[in-house]
Symmetry: C2
Subunit: 575 residues, 2 copies
């Protein structure tokens, strides 16, 4: 029986069923991750069941200068409906799990499904927030029921272990969700993406494929994690000083490769940095990391080893100021002092927005004389992306041959590029749905349509991870941006409550503006003139006084061409 025929019969069958039961459509609603890289959160809801696939955060770009540490999706849509029936996590990266604490703070009894490693990481994270929800462990090829929906986890290969995609059998048809994936045929842990199962589920009729678009603009295929492992094996024996491998804390595959290469050349290894240490401990406990039991040494014993006896694993390859590598580069690390003869391998790629920080880090490392190895230096590879490139996306599309295609996880142009790839693989153009956060797709009898209207979505800017869970308001951030741009001028006015007469000369105080005595004198004079010219009956009207003084004082600060004026804040003390 051909796949096309299978699909036709299945479709007839489901239509027949729909005629009888008049089921409401299944709705797909991205609350985050479509139109941006990060804060992934997708709602799949049928009448009685509301699944949330992933619940991630995003790191801020420009907003980081305004005290924003973390951006999370506004989950109002779920809050208004009493929360999700369940959360299903695809893997343990922050952009898939990082917003969970804020959701669970409001809905503590929602069960959280995930694989062993994913739940291990999440458990630790939630404990910091004093949360311990109802965890449900899942494993690839196992099916579990959530309300009217059956879910099956599918092994996918990614840059963190134990990642899965999902097969979601809704009352209106089957969805295949890749999570974040790549098609590495030689992964260091041997866990390949389960292409066979994807193909099988495709052959038996898949209403829609939802697939990771992060690398949709990159042609060809991603390189294998094995290639990085081999670089390490080749390189380590040639080095005589310390070897520092800087990688993402969650990239256990990379840790495995460095540990294997360390053991092969008779070095000891040490893991620095709390997050990497925790992940390594968890992965070791779960059997996801394999190394001789005497390989890892305690960071506190570092001083007893000679440089050529050590491989140091650390985070900080993104130039993060609080990381171990940053402190080493600035000679401020309490355990490691780097210098000539040592080699630092940047085993990651700068995340967009971090380029300047990474360049600064590289410059500091060059300054203290260490050899710096990055991919671009012509050796390597020292990094492999965790996301499928175009040829891999093509292969998956050709195996699944979905009736509908929804590119997920990416900025708009990545979603567009992925849709174009899908059209090239035979998906009809009108069956490709390039949507963004808040758009709603309806699935009925295996067919998808875009619903009118939008769900409420938005970004919440968190001021400190443990700060106000409602986030900093737009007014707060706008004020901070104004203050940052041109500083602040305070005008303190003490006036008689009854007559409005000034009790003393206005005081002018600047913060973040240049202390120019002439300007300040003009500002004071302007303020006095403005008060004197107010009609008598307005002099006791605080708002009128404030407005007059604000305008007068602003005028004292010249605005030639591109010069900006400070925020002027008149404070009226009535006595």
């Amino acid at each position: 029986m051909t796949a096309a025929f299978m699909r036709r019969t299945l479709s007839q069958e489901t239509s027949a069923r729909a005629l009888i039961t008049r089921m409401p459509p299944v709705r797909l609603i991205p609350l985050g991750g479509l139109g941006e890289v990060g804060m992934n959160a997708l709602v799949v809801e049928s009448a009685e069941t509301r699944l949330l696939i992933d619940c991630g955060l995003m790191f801020p770009h420009a907003e980081s200068a305004l005290g924003v540490d973390v951006v999370i999706p506004d989950l109002k849509y779920l809050d208004e409906r009493g929360g999700p029936t369940a959360v299903v996590l695809t893997h343990a990266h922050e952009d898939h799990i990082g917003a969970l604490p804020y959701l669970l703070a409001r809905h503590p009894h929602v069960p959280v499904y995930g694989t062993r490693f994913t739940l291990g990481v999440v458990k630790h994270r939630l404990a910091e927030f004093g949360l311990s929800p109802d965890f449900r462990e899942i494993a690839p090829r196992e099916r579990f029921q959530i309300g009217t929906t059956t879910v099956e986890a599918l092994r996918v290969c990614h840059s963190t272990p134990d990642a899965v995609g999902l097969c979601i059998e809704t009352p209106e048809g089957r969805l295949l969700h890749t999570g974040d994936f790549k098609l590495d045929l030689t992964p260091v842990d041997g866990e390949r993406t389960d292409l066979r199962r994807f193909a099988e589920l495709g052959t038996n009729g898949t209403a829609a494929l939802l697939s990771d678009s992060t690398n949709a603009e990159r042609g060809g295929s991603s390189i294998s994690e094995r290639a990085v492992a081999e670089s390490f094996l080749r390189l380590f024996p040639q080095l005589s000083g310390r070897i520092i491998v800087a990688a993402f804390a969650s990239n256990i595959h990379r840790v495995q490769s460095a540990l294997t290469a360390a053991a092969a050349c008779g070095r000891k290894a040490v893991v620095l940095g709390r997050s990497m240490q925790e992940n390594v401990r968890l992965a070791t406990d779960l059997g996801l990391l394999k190394y001789p039991s005497d390989l890892l040494v305690d960071p506190e014993t570092l001083e007893f080893f000679k440089p050529h006896e050590l491989v140091i694993l650390t985070t900080g390859a993104q130039g993060e100021p609080r990381s171990g590598l940053f402190r080493m580069a600035h000679g401020e690390h309490k355990l490691v002092e780097l210098g000539r003869g040592d080699t630092v391998i940047l085993s990651s790629r700068a995340i967009p927005g971090n380029e300047i920080a990474v360049a600064g880090l590289c410059d500091e490392l060059a300054r203290i004389g260490v050899d710096l190895l990055e991919d671009r230096a012509g050796v390597g590879p020292f990094h492999a992306t965790g996301h499928a490139c175009q040829d891999e996306q093509r292969l998956l599309l050709s195996l699944v041959q979905p009736a509908n295609f929804v590119p997920i996880h990416g900025e708009h142009r990545m979603l567009v590029a992925h849709a174009r790839t899908a059209v090239g693989q035979g998906v009809a153009r009108e069956r490709c749905f390039v949507i963004e956060d808040g758009d709603v797709l309806e699935l009925t009898n295996g067919a998808i349509t875009k619903a009118p209207g939008r769900a409420p979505v938005g970004r919440i800017y968190l001021d400190g991870r443990h700060g106000d869970p409602d986030g900093a308001s737009e007014i707060t951030l706008r004020d901070r941006a104004l203050l940052a741009d041109a500083g602040l001028v305070l005008v303190v006015l003490a006036i008689d409550r009854k007559t409005g007469t000034l009790l003393r000369s206005p005081e002018i105080i600047g913060r973040g503006v240049s202390e120019d005595a002439a300007l300040f004198a003009t500002a004071r004079a302007n303020a006095e003139t403005a008060l004197a010219s107010l009609p008598e009956d307005s002099r006791t009207d605080v708002r009128a006084v404030q407005e007059a003084v604000r305008a007068a004082v602003r005028r004292a600060f010249p605005k030639d061409q591109d010069r900006k004026r400070p925020m002027v804040l008149p404070l009226v003390v009535e006595l």
Copy 2:
């Protein structure tokens, strides 16, 4: 006679001369550009002559969020010595000319040497500042005398026209300074780097080569500007909508390539954006741009042309919010409305720090449905760097065979990489001087040594290009950063001048902090308690009152983990 022998005799000759005259050494002092990319400014001084080679600015990275528009080098070293004898400019890029207005405001009579195009651009720029200095036009292979020093301009190829390197004949030996250069053998204007003259001057004894390090970490050779020209010629006839080419305003070569391709396929061309229009006008006047006289049309007549009749040249490929391309992408351009069928070619590479802005621009362009072409899309090339890569640097080194080598123009690790390349070409390791701003090299009898001590250097952060030329102080910027990070809380205290008694309850005002009524109430209570607990004789001491209140109010704002506390500013009004 071999080059080595020549050099030996020359060296003996200069030593003999030094014994007789006891000349003071020639000093090389970088005031900017060594240790960063941008704000190039190098002092070459002998007893009576003080040359400043280039006088550039740098665009801010993180500081841009603090209202900083431009960063310039602190030229105190020159100011303390009555200014330079002359400024010699290598080319018209901002990082080589942008700080001139601030120098000339203090030293208006200093002559400024440069080629025709360079002076044309500078003249225009300085006019905005009401400056019209003593311009001295120079041309390649012409020698000119400045005090005791003879300078010869050497044609180099770069990404802006009429660029030169310099041969500087000092009393103590010859310096070859490349300016910014690449070795394009097929430049679109036919002006190749004058390798023959570099070789000739090398053969006759060059004390030191100072060479552009921007691409010192990139292997191989830069691609030719001609390759971009050919991409345009190949691509334009295949397109049916509008063609928008976004490039740097100063890249006249790129403009030439786009104009040639436009003419070849029968389209008209239009130049948008003030800076690009000015440069095109100047280059046309100087005969540096060649195109049919009816090719360019007036922007105001755009509405009379169909999409397939036009090529639009514009700036904004770096995602600058005020640029034409940004406004087109957001549907806010008053003359051009882009949409499906139109093609935007990003004919530049994102400058480090602009990646996020460029990605945002690309996303908006994808959203409105235009086809976006960048180098990475597998077509092209659409951009060629203006700086020599390693193989070109090697070639120049092998032609000049300098006795000493000073890598210039670059961050520290680029300078290190360039020095490594020089060692590979036979320059002795101890003859390579990796120095940074403020370091001093001394040249005596053709030999270079690093002098002890450092010249005063620094960065001046300008708040608006036309703002205070002394720049924003560090305190100002630190205050702005604090305000940006966590906002501000004002506490207004009206106290009796004699007794220190509070005349009314303290007023608490927040800006850039969340308006949490409970927190504010706690803050007010804390302030009152703190005042009440002050010893009676401290209550009229304004500083003591401020300190007590500041500490008490700060405590009201919780600092759990990574949450930051606002700046607290107590204002005491004594009556």
